[in-house]
Point group: C3
Chain length 319, copies 3
């Protein structure tokens, strides 16, 4: 069966997950993003690539930060953007997800950017559009449950490539709540596809998924071992709801065992970079001295995130 | 007294209700909408007819779906759109409706799209603008209480004309909660004005208005009689709040007596079309087999709704 | 130490407060606003001065009215506008104010319009941008705590200059809850800087600040004395939360002592103008006969407010 994200020419049709995408597709997105990085520095930060296209931000789960990055990216491509906070609207009138999609498609939507608490929702939408012959509409997954957050994964890859150039010799460590993290899953698929030989995940037993070995990564529960000589450290956000629950004793305990301090950062290579998808819990997963230190590239990640989302949207719109 | 919606040349100045509008005005809107249907299929879906105009979506009652259709229509006309959810703002500071209108008019608004739970609110606004000499500002009623929903009525007429061409030989049935439905009221006025000879309403006694006879329609409480040989079936949405109340025993009972099933649809003409203003309650007023069947034109209604709203807005802006 | 709002050439870099701004800077804003007043009357109300710039409305405190005026002003300058209601987003995820600012700056924001319940928040943001070398980003204070509301102060000055031409011979009275009013504070600084010789504040002891004498104003607790022969009356909004508290007996009592009635208005000069920042509490601080009377210029204030905000934004963007 063909990858549902690719059209018959092997080009990207939807962006649902990084899993299963060929290396050339990822590289093409990163290369396209390069050209958009410079646009953001210009006096007039707009290009007309999506003029007259209607992009719908469908956020079934609230995320102002992610919604804003897509809104900015779409507006810089000159698209018309419609923000829909769905939990507050039709959902409360009992309309089904697919009836909502059918209605918006009938309004001549060109692209849906979908955030949903349930894993697989963007897939379901893409499949429905395919089954009902609405093939001109594109879907971008902006985070679905614990499953995937492909644009975050891509902006992380852009950042790594920017600072480290060559994926083929890197050691990359992902630290924290890997079990619940769609960012971790997207990063792991991207790193492996792009040829990173040493991908490590670090966290307590209770926050590690059981299938990590099959994903081509090495698992560490001891952070001092896991960080040794790595080139890149990707810190994950610890969700507040985990902190006082059964999985973790407390935020303080977590910081003691897995927080990224300057000392622990010293275990990595001298020129290692520190990444975080934001928003950070300072003093929980990361020490402020590291977050604001010279090795952190957390704000450049945000900047590249706009360019990567412009790249994804313009590629989908032109394929 | 002159119709407050028309200017001294008999042209549309506001769109408040279909009641009392001459047939030529309705036909002009439908003809104008035709030209906008094709725009939505273009690569660049924008025309500059309202460039630099400020359209305010004043939604005193929440309706993401209707607000979105007006927002898309205005953006495709190149207007600047400002969405105001009024219940959450000045209303809570105790400012009166007309003070709010005066303030927004002072910001050089060109058009208000008004949704309000109280019947007559858009009329009140239009009258106030007239009395205070703010004649350049236009008002579009996007649904007021139980009174009117004229753009829904117009898009229904567009849909019927598209599929049935000639109004003068049609039988049209409106089924459901006619008593509380502004859609039903707008449809009835439009159908009668456009010359439909046989307009029927079907529903339980408790959900039928007492003045229906005077509106030129035939009333049926038995759906099997009412649907016989009709060309068009317009299903109404059953509001959740009616279902467990004094007016209706239950949703299941309602479906048993008035839900549109494939069998009941078989009573109508073979080429009858099925319409619904959305969002649908599947299994309450309509069976999914009908909603997704070949005779349903519910999604084309949505598409034509954008074109009709573009037509209304551009006609008002140019008169 | 240099005024943090001005650049090394003495030009406006941020607009944080009117306090300390030289008269020429204020006059330049008012002169620039004049040119924008006429734009609002044009068929196409847009100028391309901020095309491709990204303006973020950061409203940590809800104010649909003020947010709308900035949104309209920015759109008429052709900027891209992103509205962020921050209390509902990252703040709830525990992200700090400055982390939010860093993130949005990394998305290549050009301007922040900031509303915050805490006095000094826009200063804190401007200082942070300076300290972190993000000097291309501008900050406009859209109201911070009890401290300042500089664009309201400027639009009040524009209105006074429009009707009275020459500041150097005026008597201006500010009436009401001066203690809690950022509008009063901004107006007083502006009036004094622009050379108004007689600035009066009128209110009950409990609602007057203790440092008013040092600000160059005369204090009255008796409104009949205070209004005598003034050219301009600026009424302040009485916050609902004050009315039933320890500071005031009741709204009725307040109106009896300080409400602006036609009789009291008669104490001022015959051609005195009446202003109010809105939204008005009719029957609390102002009688409807005055609010809707011929001396009220409350709606022109709103109109000039758009032009003044366009002036401030375009000046900041070009300096």
């Amino acid at each position: 069966m063909r990858n549902p994200q690719l059209n018959e020419h092997g080009e990207l049709h939807h962006l649902l997950t990084i899993e299963g995408l060929p290396r050339e597709v990822l590289t093409h997105i990163l290369d396209t993003a390069s050209s958009f990085v410079s646009i953001s520095d210009r006096e007039v930060k707009k290009v007309p690539l999506m003029r007259g296209k209607s992009v719908f931000n469908l956020f079934f789960e609230n995320s102002t930060r992610t919604r804003t990055t897509f809104e900015i990216a779409a507006k810089r491509l000159s698209a018309d953007v419609i923000n829909l906070n769905i939990s507050a609207s039709s959902a409360s009138k009992g309309e089904s997800l697919l009836d909502t999609i059918d209605n918006l498609t009938a309004m001549h939507a060109d692209m849906f950017v979908v955030r949903h608490a349930q894993s697989g929702a963007p897939f379901l939408i893409a499949k429905h559009l395919h089954d009902t012959g609405q093939k001109h509409v594109r879907v971008v997954n902006a985070g679905d449950g614990r499953h995937a957050h492909p644009t975050q994964g891509l902006l992380d890859m852009y950042t790594i490539r920017h600072y480290k150039k060559d994926f083929s010799k890197l050691s990359v460590a992902i630290v924290g709540d890997v079990l619940h993290s769609r960012v971790a899953r997207s990063d792991i698929h991207a790193l492996v596809t792009l040829g990173v030989p040493d991908v490590r995940v670090i966290g307590p037993h209770t926050l590690l998924a059981s299938n990590l070995d099959q994903m081509g990564v090495r698992v560490f529960t001891d952070i001092t071992q896991g960080l040794k000589d790595v080139d890149v450290i990707i810190m994950l956000r610890l969700q507040n709801e985990r902190m006082n629950g059964a999985l973790l004793p407390s935020a303080q305990e977590y910081f003691k065992s897995y927080g990224l301090t300057p000392e622990r950062l010293g275990l990595a290579k001298k020129d290692a970079i520190v990444m975080h998808p934001g928003p950070m819990n300072r003093g929980v997963e990361i020490d402020s001295a590291v977050a604001d230190g010279s090795q952190a590239v957390i704000l450049p990640q945000v900047t590249y995130g706009i360019a990567v989302r412009m790249a994804v949207m313009s590629i989908l719109a032109s394929n």
